[in-house]
Point group: C2
């Protein structure tokens, strides 16, 4: 149990309003704090949500791949090899702080915005037989992108968290099979995140890598930054770059949470990564890459699930399972009994134990923070025989006896 | 259960020899892969060890502080405020890759080597009453230091993992009380890491921050990069910078795993962080900082616990609890029964299921990888009535019946 009095990052309604709703809500509720445009501190509540999102993603990924942790720094020559050093305009480079003034320009690295340049030579070093493919590796890690405008809170960071998965195959067919598996994993993840009814698969351009489409996982969201269009004949969504005029009627506002790409032979060719088949003939390697923005998802959910009073977290990623408010200090015995019952069932509690704050303020803080279940223990609730329960996403309160409550956990 | 055939990062004895033993062993055994000097990829086995170390550290830290996640990027003006931008020669700065050639020098940030410059203004923003102190916050995160020589493997990285804790107090006495608490937490951590008998507390200079000493947690290690000296009269260790000549006899080789510092008022003064006491008088804020190098500890343990055949992991941070080798494919039923028994008790298994590799090679791979318990299932072990058990840190093998083994888990 976490006592709210001991928690760093209390609600702060005076905190500034940002251009984006997610940053405003998350900062006022004490989840994040802006360090500078596009760069955020995760306070304890925010870190708990981020960890829950990342653990849901990790659990699904481990079913279809191995986890690694690649570095944030990489040598420039890898990016020269793929010629992306000049193409990616959001690349950041490091340089010794003292060197900059003296223009010596020693020890400079790329601060990775994505990891194809790192994982392809790494896999090449370890895989020497076609029998070791298919191979899929993922990581959950911090990425850096020098975005020109970073005004969308957690939706567009200069420093942000991401899950990236890369797969290696000896044929395009094998890659396509795996690509379908990842699609299913992604749907499982978005369902667990509480986004089942709002996740749509959208066809997008394959970029430089493939003539085929890539797929975006878009979340339907009133404040979404993207628009997609439905081709009703084929029941397929297209993003605005590739949607044909004849299907364009009302667009749907969405926010991107993940995408999956056929990379084809681009990177394996750049790094001369081939294998021999059983007849000693060279096999070209086909790659796919699959991203999910984990801190971005936290932002999307904040944009999507809220009301005038604050945040409304889906159960699986609520920072705590229960938010407990006791009216006065003399109810501590009852409160601790309830907390014990909850923790016995493996659920977590944030207890607003502050004694110098009125009930009304505690209730409005609970709404702002948005934990999915709220329990009030007051003289009134005890007179009625127990505790008052309220779901954050409903207006109904309900009185339960202690016993009924214990069974409901 | 992880099948070794499906694990990325197999042993590779042909992999190059580094100047440091830890990098050589960890790379040959498939735990890490050098990206460039001072920067490493963590492969699945290495990431498991790193996660175990970090979870031990986290568990103890959560007893005495709140967890946050601060960004790697920070604005330059914070470092100008503390004047450390010119003093810390290992600072790295970022710059847009395209800007560098055009010398526009826009959007440049500091890539944080430590976080006093970030946490002090953050805490100042949230804490408005002396009643909210003491406050302690920690994070486990990636740090960046532009080390001139980075030839010690995981012992001196340009990019590395670290736990850093910062505490805030309204008096030096309160800080000193908390400082002692952290000391105890650190001893608990090093005990759980399997380093109880080799951890010593060493007095070091307090640096620019305090006239008092700081404390280093040093691990006795033959290949250690530091030397400390024991003052036998007071039973106190001093590092070589401050040891007095009269106590200097034989030094003890050690490797630093953690340090704790009284920062005093340095950073709170730089950022004008004061509070009012109950009489409305200004109180100065006293700070402490407390580090543990988590990836560095992985390196220290690799340097310290090994033999001619490979790594020897302490039980609590062994990548898996059991390494299972079955002699031939027709023993799969027995093997799977053993694995089921182990997993029922919540323990983890790496199963060398390769069918194209001889027993001898599997045994020597098990030694190189260094998982703390090895189980061999062979015709010989079955004839003798069960499975053969061997601890990696002992030469003795033992035959157990299936039932005896099940009870021993």
């Amino acid at each position: 149990m976490q006592r709210y009095s001991q928690l760093f990052g209390k609600t702060n309604r005076e905190s500034k309003n940002f251009e984006s709703l997610n940053a405003t809500l998350l900062q006022k509720a004490g989840f994040i704090n802006q360090e500078m445009a596009g760069v955020y501190n995760f306070l304890p509540l925010g870190l708990r949500v981020l960890n829950k999102i990342e653990n849901i993603v990790r659990k699904e990924m481990l079913k279809i791949s191995n986890e690694v942790l690649l570095p944030s720094l990489s040598p420039k020559d890898y990016w020269e090899t793929t010629k992306r050093i000049d193409k990616i305009d959001i690349l950041m480079q490091t340089i010794g702080a003292n060197d900059l003034s003296s223009k010596k320009n020693t020890s400079s690295y790329i601060l990775n915005p994505t990891h194809e340049e790192i994982i392809t030579p790494l896999v090449k070093e370890y895989i020497s037989s076609y029998k070791d493919l298919p191979l899929a590796l993922f990581q959950i890690q911090t990425k850096f992108r020098n975005e020109a405008r970073a005004k969308s809170g957690l939706l567009r960071g200069r420093e942000f968290r991401m899950k990236d998965l890369y797969s290696f195959h000896i044929s395009l067919e094998d890659l396509e099979d795996y690509y379908e598996k990842v699609k299913q994993s992604y749907f499982n993840i978005f369902e667990e995140l509480g986004l089942k009814d709002s996740t749509i698969l959208v066809k997008a351009s394959g970029g430089d890598f493939t003539k085929d489409y890539s797929d975006e996982f878009q979340i339907i969201c009133e404040n979404g930054e993207d628009i997609v269009f439905l081709d009703k004949k084929t029941n397929t969504y297209y993003n605005k770059e590739i949607a044909k005029k004849e299907i364009i009627n009302d667009g749907i506002k969405v926010s991107e949470a993940g995408n999956i790409f056929i990379l084809g032979e681009k990177f394996s060719k750049d790094f001369n990564f081939t294998l021999k088949d059983k007849n000693n003939k060279d096999i070209n390697i086909f790659m796919g890459c699959y991203g999910i923005g984990t801190s971005r998802i936290m932002g999307i959910i904040a944009e999507k699930f809220n009301d005038d009073n604050g945040l409304i977290w889906p159960e699986n990623i609520s920072p705590y399972d229960y938010h407990i408010i006791s009216q006065s200090e003399d109810l501590e015995t009852e409160t601790k009994k309830i907390i014990e019952q909850i923790e016995k069932k493996g659920k977590t509690v944030l207890w607003d134990d502050r004694t110098d704050i009125h009930m009304g303020e505690k209730l409005s803080d609970a709404d702002l923070i948005g934990i999915s279940k709220r329990i009030v223990i007051s003289k009134r609730s005890l007179e009625k025989g127990g505790v008052e329960i309220k779901q954050r996403n409903s207006f109904d309160t309900k009185i339960m006896t202690f016993k009924e409550f214990a069974n409901s956990i």
